[in-house]
Symmetry: C2
Subunit: 509 residues, 2 copies
């Protein structure tokens, strides 16, 4: 079989920039996984892991100019955004280095023998160990932060798991450059370069999920692609955890009081959030419930003005541009759907932002309008005008799972007068993150972050951003009656590493 | 369609005791799930939950004599074992009540805004919320501790999740009695009785896993049944977590030094562990690597004597008896397989314990001997005699995942001289619990317990025993920029409930 070339393409022109690689064969995927598997032992020492992560962060920063130039040429995301994203990626690697050093993620629990329990408790000591090789599937829309050196890779390496990364076809040249930085950082700490494998090609992604030595996977992308890989992971002779972030509508509810109090500011804020990064964020607000009536009209007017002022932008690739143009056209032609600002084709290679408006009553029942409740990647949102609270609640009750749900409240409602707390409780079942009087775009890297949500937002209950993302790549193991001389140092009574732990029932920090 | 009767059967005679119920129709499953779903709100208050769990424990104890009589009549496990198991079940309910009260399982993480982070961190507060209705599939072999009021139910209720239990056909009458105790306890605390649903029937079990309002499932049983339900859970339009404990061989490695030092004691201990509960424990040692030579011979001699002295026992049902008799007969007729004590049919309704012996070299490669590496439910184990360490390691490397792996060391090895630590490290990838100089049977209910392991031991990285079992039924949610007046009390700065938490990076306990 002839080798299939992998091209780097400039989305601003649709032209090929260079041939970066060839698609990996099954044998090459196998070689990459075996090399990663063989590198496990080199990650066993936590001090080595955290030093490796910090060196990787420094390496990315040292290579910044070249990385950003290549990233911009392949994604058209622009140097400002990409510079920020690269800084975020370095911050994230260092945050996981700190987490490795602290060691709370090991979840150490120690029980001395207790004959008063039913049945009696023997000496039991539990902590978490790495799962093994993790397959990482890169996102189109975050060439740094959710790709080769992104959150999945950082958290997997932090957990002690080597990775084999499936590059995204929208930025193959950058993927190669970033992988080199990671491998050079590994080598500096005596870790085999195979600790970070990189493969290209659709078929390679399937071969990867089916490889017997792959122990878990992380994915950021579409519902269709993610579900296919999830199904493959579940169908293996030995099923493996598949942590996929697939799709999200990210509903926003604007209360009547909020629209009356600051409708214009909300309209302007919404325009900024939905067009940020040319609408290519997984947390883009895709459905906004706005009250009918004058206050809501004012909000929509402000939104109209702000979106009209937005410049055309280039999407990550031409397939996305085609899908966006077709998707908004199909939605716009539904009866009773208006386009106060018509989204669609911009220039030959770009798209222009816009939004659709529809009476919320149209979304109350299954039918043709359901496509308005499906994510549409790109700079568009749907404004649904509701007559009363029940109508808004009715639409929310029809939504699949989301990464985020946002509510815009008035000052009084935020202060506890009115239905604020009730609305927070109503939004909680819908999403993994509930945002109040702010916008969902912008996902901070923080211990309290949760970037996940009910399916299809994610395929598991885990997060792909924030400190607890490390939990995805670990499994507990308990040692029973193990003599002190044989215990891993993390599990000894003396606790020379000062690990946070639960010791005979007491939380020690 | 005619109603399908559900019979309670006495395994000591094979005779029907009484008709307990009829198999649930799809409509009845739906009714049970809806009732459970409607009861969610009544579990929202943690104080109510823990009180309910304690009342349930007391209720089981108050009903003890009747419960044990029925359990014994349906399972033939005997009043001594059943009395212990019921005590364990009450202890477990109370342990989860304590966990609910402590609140560490909420995993509260709070971040105040931090503009020095990249990107800046807004106010973010995360904790865990219940997933929703949990489907619980009862085990044949633990009519109390892994059934209607067992660990899955206790941990799900503790997490705030109502349950619908699929009864095991080996103890339907007991299942009804236990469900009544739980419902009475619920009613005492103002919780609708639908919080604990109970259904009978194979088809009902499938309808249950496919019900849109079922949010997760817990299962203890066979590889075949568990995998079928796992596949159904993964194939749903909205896949759900399936925490199944399926099967485990539970290998034991006896070192040469251990055999030389205390071979007789090990042989006697092994006999006790493998015949305990008529060999019907999921952690029964099913493969024992014993050195060839005189020391190993002594161990086998002691095992032979002890197993020969074991009385015939009654298995949980006649299908199991048939499978056991056929399974050991097929294994025993392989060339080079000896039966120092022949397992098989005991009396008309019972089986007799025994064990098989085989050169470890026979297990080194794929082939007919692979059936010796598969779990055989009942009082039998396989002793594989190894010539050297490499041969033993070769057999271990061929095993699928296990709940437990055990090593028997000499006193010197246990003290750190020799390969003890190395062997612990070699056994760790095989299992969720590594046991040293003890036996895997007996699974303590303890914070440090881990009852799970690589597939097929479990279908996830979770445990079904011990405090962390509650984690299976929760998902995190983060609140961003939520005003203090609207926050759940668990997430306020003031922490009036005194919850353990991570507050601006610092672990507070």
């Amino acid at each position: 079989m002839a080798a299939v070339p992998v091209w780097s393409v400039d989305p601003r022109t649709g032209k090929r920039r260079e041939q970066v690689a060839v698609e990996a064969t099954a044998e090459e995927v196998d070689t990459a996984v075996r090399a990663a598997h063989a590198a496990r032992g080199a990650l066993a020492d936590r001090a080595v892991r955290s030093a490796f992560l910090r060196t990787a962060a420094a390496g990315l920063e040292a290579a910044r100019d070249g990385l950003i130039e290549t990233a911009d040429a392949e994604t058209a995301l622009g140097p400002v955004r990409l510079t920020g994203e690269l800084a975020r990626t370095g911050y994230q690697l260092r945050a996981f280095a700190d987490i490795v050093d602290e060691g709370a993620f090991l979840d150490v629990v120690i029980n001395h023998p207790d004959d008063t329990a039913t049945p009696p408790i023997p000496d039991l000591r539990r902590y978490k160990v790495p799962l093994g090789v993790v397959a990482v599937y890169c996102a189109s829309n975050f060439p740094f932060a959710f790709s080769v050196a992104g959150g999945d890779t950082a958290s997997a390496l932090a957990a002690g798991c080597p990775v084999v990364v499936k590059a995204h076809p929208d930025h193959p040249a950058l993927s190669e450059l970033v992988a080199k930085v990671l491998r050079r950082a590994a080598a500096e700490h005596g870790i085999p370069e195979g600790v970070v494998g990189l493969v290209h090609g659709f078929r390679a992604g399937i071969d990867l999920i089916e490889h017997p030595s792959v122990a878990a996977a992380g994915f950021t992308g579409s519902i269709r692609g993610g579900r296919a890989l999830f199904d493959a992971a579940a169908a293996r002779p030995v099923p493996i955890p598949f942590h996929g972030e697939l799709g999200s509508l990210n509903p926003v509810l604007v209360t009547q009081a909020a629209a009356a109090e600051r409708g214009e500011a909300i309209g302007v804020g919404l325009a900024g959030s939905m067009t940020l990064g040319v609408g290519q964020f997984c947390v883009k607000p895709g459905l906004v419930l706005v009250p009918s009536g004058a206050a809501g009209d004012g909000l929509v007017k402000a939104l109209t003005d702000a979106v009209s002022d937005t410049e055309a932008g280039v999407l990550l690739d031409h397939r996305m541009r085609d899908d966006f143009i077709a998707g908004v056209a199909e939605r716009a032609k539904l009866p009773d759907v208006d386009s106060p600002v018509t989204p669609g084709a911009g220039g030959e290679h770009s798209v222009s932002a816009g939004f659709l408006a529809v009476p919320a009553a149209r979304l109350a029942e299954e039918g043709a309008y359901d496509q308005l409740l499906e994510e549409c990647f790109g700079p568009v949102t749907v404004v649904a005008r509701y007559a009363d609270e029940d109508e808004a609640a009715g639409v929310l009750s029809r939504l699949p799972g989301n990464l985020t749900a946002t509510v815009q409240l008035s000052a009084e409602e935020a202060a506890g007068q009115g239905r604020g707390a009730e609305l927070l409780a109503e939004l909680t079942p819908l999403a993994g993150r509930v945002v109040v009087n702010a916008w969902p775009t912008g996902v901070a890297v923080a211990p309290a972050q949760h970037h996940g949500g009910p399916y299809p937002a994610t395929t598991s209950t885990s997060t792909s951003v924030g400190g607890t993302a490390i939990e995805r790549w670990l499994r507990p193991v308990a040692y029973q009656n193990a003599p002190a001389a044989l215990l891993p140092v993390e599990l000894t009574d003396e606790n020379p590493l000062g690990l946070p732990r639960r010791f005979n029932g007491v939380l020690e920090r």
